[in-house]
């Protein structure tokens, strides 16, 4: 067997060198070809060295779908959030099994499902809407929320962050993961940690977040109301949930002071 291993190792070395030479010569086709051969050789080596083909690792039984876990996370947060935060919340409070990468295609799948059978599900994982009513990059919302909660004005990312921090601080955590999440959020809110190391006092975090919220609330509420009004007036069912395509939503009205950027398409 070791002869065969030696031979495979020689072959693997040759192939590796070949791949890297091809890469350096920017010969993509050749590199791909060699890489495929390399993978085969490496698999054979793995198989041979470990004596037998290892059984494919059994996935733990999935009780809750990715979609449901995201829903759970968003419900807890109560505001538009990025996949990274949703995953952290799911992990901290629901023993979640999702990874950020699994969330990338989610919105598209939801839109497809909605288009084929509108309102066929009790909820959809939907987009947040920008000031041009297009989908905001990297943010998820729930279709069951009022439009005001699903739009983002200039202050909304901060307001949503503070809202999420209050939600996380209000939740009883099971273990250190919840503490770590709260520490990470709290250190970015003035006065939330009191400079102490270790898990911050949730009451203090909530108080500090509320204090900063009071600074932004009025303008943000006004901006959101205006955006929500436009979204309701201009968008159809699908676009209201998943955002309008960028070009079709050029705002004619640039009246909303402090929010709309007055950019016309050229």
């Amino acid at each position: 067997m070791s002869d065969r291993l030696d031979e495979l190792e020689r072959r693997i070395d040759e192939l590796r060198a070949g791949v890297r030479r091809a890469m350096r010569a920017r010969d993509g086709a050749r590199a791909r070809e060699l890489r495929a051969e390399l993978r085969t050789a490496e698999r054979s080596w793995d198989a041979l060295v470990s004596g037998e083909q290892p059984p494919p690792a059994l996935e733990p039984p999935r009780l809750v779908t990715v979609r449901e876990q995201v829903h759970q996370g968003l419900r807890l947060l109560g505001a538009a959030a990025q996949p990274r935060l949703i995953v952290a919340v799911s992990d901290a409070f629901f023993g979640g099994t999702i990874r950020s990468a699994q969330l990338t295609s989610l919105r598209r799948d939801e839109e497809r499902s909605f288009r084929s059978a509108p309102h066929g599900r009790p909820y959809y994982l939907s987009a947040a809407l920008t000031d041009r009513l297009s989908p905001a990059r990297g943010l998820l919302t729930l279709s069951t929320w009022p439009l005001e909660r699903r739009v983002v004005g200039p202050l909304s990312p901060r307001v949503d962050f503070l809202t999420c921090a209050i939600a996380v601080a209000s939740q009883e955590g099971a273990d250190g993961r919840a503490d770590r999440l709260l520490i990470r959020m709290a250190r970015n809110i003035p006065g939330a940690t009191g400079g102490a190391l270790g898990p911050p006092d949730p009451g203090r975090v909530i108080e500090a977040a509320r204090a900063e919220l009071r600074v932004h609330r009025e303008r943000d509420t006004r901006d959101r109301a205006e955006l929500a009004r436009r979204a309701a007036a201009q968008l159809g069912d699908v676009a209201r949930l998943f955002g309008a395509a960028t070009l079709s939503t050029i705002a004619k009205e640039t009246t909303m002071k402090g929010t709309i950027n007055g950019v016309k398409a050229e």
Binding site: R24, A25, R26, A81, Q82, R84, L85, T130, R132, S134, A136, R137, P154, L155, S156, P157, R158, D160, F161, C164, M185, R187, N188, P190, E212, V215, H216, T246, L247, K257, G258, N261, G262, V263, A265, E266
Partner: protein, 366 residues
């Protein structure tokens, strides 16, 4: 009559990015590089075709780490960045307005950036604080280069600041000086582009601060820390170099007629130009090789090979070159040392030193 476009020929121009523009300042005296860059020629492709591929590459681990760190700094409406700006520059709590320029779609980013910056410069206070993924532009020798500060410009006390996010660590208050210097050069390009934009829009370009906010991971954790870096010197070097780029005519005039650095890409995009012909053309434009080129220029191995063939003392580094005081070739320096060559005018002193050095080495080694 040579023109930059003729120099590039049928090869499509390669757009400059901030790193490339910053590197222009690395070896300002090199005519070959100035011409290649001025004409928008893909130096990497040229070097590969000549059989001297550049020794650069970035590890996927470094790329992943860089992306992860950047998204961490920008997560949740730039929550980490706001904390640092509040701590470092006393940004008022009310200043949190965030605009993701990329929301408008790629084709509108530049126009949108212009409009946002214009409004911010006009209206001051209420206009907004953070601009994520802006797209700036800069004229490089008649070509427009588009620049993407991975970074955010923000307004504070009426001034714009460039924020540069880098994933090299600051350990106990110290970072790799070379990495900091490279970041400063790159940020200076953004400062320059943003100033140019303001000027074009009729605003005071000095509304862009010469201090950039450099964000790096602190110690061995992922936690970001910000510091202010003064890039005035980098700006000065860059401006000078860009000014030289606009006077490429003089360099062009010095080239033989009808010379071109065209790769003549075939239908599959592969270069068809005979290698010998291309190297001859390139040799027509004088290079100023220095070992530093090995970390900054795609053409480095080609120029080093040329320096070897010419027996140039540039190979040994600037320090040796300086010590030899104007004796450019290895053979000439050794000829003076061995006393087989008479010093030219002005070489008497270095010749005497070299002869003495040779005598001492012989005495000690035999």
């Amino acid at each position: 009559m040579n023109t930059l476009d003729a120099l590039r020929g049928t090869t499509p121009p390669r757009p400059h990015d901030a790193r490339a523009i910053a590197a222009l300042a690395a070896n300002p005296g090199c005519a070959r590089r100035a011409l290649l860059d001025g004409a928008g020629i893909d130096k990497d492709a040229v070097a590969r075709h000549l059989g001297f591929p550049a020794p650069f590459g970035q590890s996927p681990f470094a790329i992943t780490r860089g992306n992860l760190f950047e998204s961490l700094v920008k997560a949740d409406g730039c929550a980490e960045l706001l904390r640092m700006l509040r701590e470092l520059l006393g940004l008022p709590v009310a200043e949190v307005a965030y605009h993701d320029v990329e929301n408008v779609g790629a084709h509108l980013r530049h126009t949108h950036t212009r409009a946002l910056i214009d409004r911010a410069a006009r209206e001051g206070q209420d206009a907004g604080t953070l601009y994520d993924h802006p797209l700036l532009s800069l004229e490089i020798a008649g070509h427009t280069a588009y620049l993407e500060p991975d970074v955010v410009a923000f307004q504070l006390g009426g001034r714009f600041h460039i924020v540069e996010i880098k994933s090299f660590a600051v350990v106990d208050g110290q970072a790799d000086p070379a990495a900091v210097a490279a970041a400063a050069r790159q940020a200076a390009v953004y400062v320059l582009a943003l100033r140019a934009l303001l000027e074009e829009l009729g605003h005071d370009p000095l509304k862009v601060s010469h201090e950039v906010v450099l964000v790096c991971p602190e110690n061995f954790a992922n936690r970001p820390v910000a510091s202010l870096v003064d890039v005035r010197r980098q700006l000065a070097v860059l401006r000078r170099q860009l000014a030289r780029m606009t006077t490429l005519d003089r360099l062009l005039a010095g080239l033989p007629d009808d010379v071109t650095f065209d790769l003549r890409p075939g239908e599959d995009g592969r270069p068809t130009r005979p290698v010998a012909e291309l190297s001859d053309a390139l040799r027509g434009a004088t290079a100023r090789y220095a070992p530093d080129c090995l970390s900054t220029c795609d053409m480095c191995f080609f120029c080093r090979d040329e320096a070897r063939q010419e027996g140039s003392s540039d190979l040994l580094g600037r320090q040796v070159r300086d010590e030899l005081g104007g004796v450019a070739s290895v053979a000439e320096a050794l000829g003076l040392a061995d006393g087989e060559r008479d010093p030219a005018e002005g070489q008497e002193e270095i010749a005497r030193l070299l002869r003495n050095a040779e005598r001492l080495r012989r005495e000690c080694l035999t």
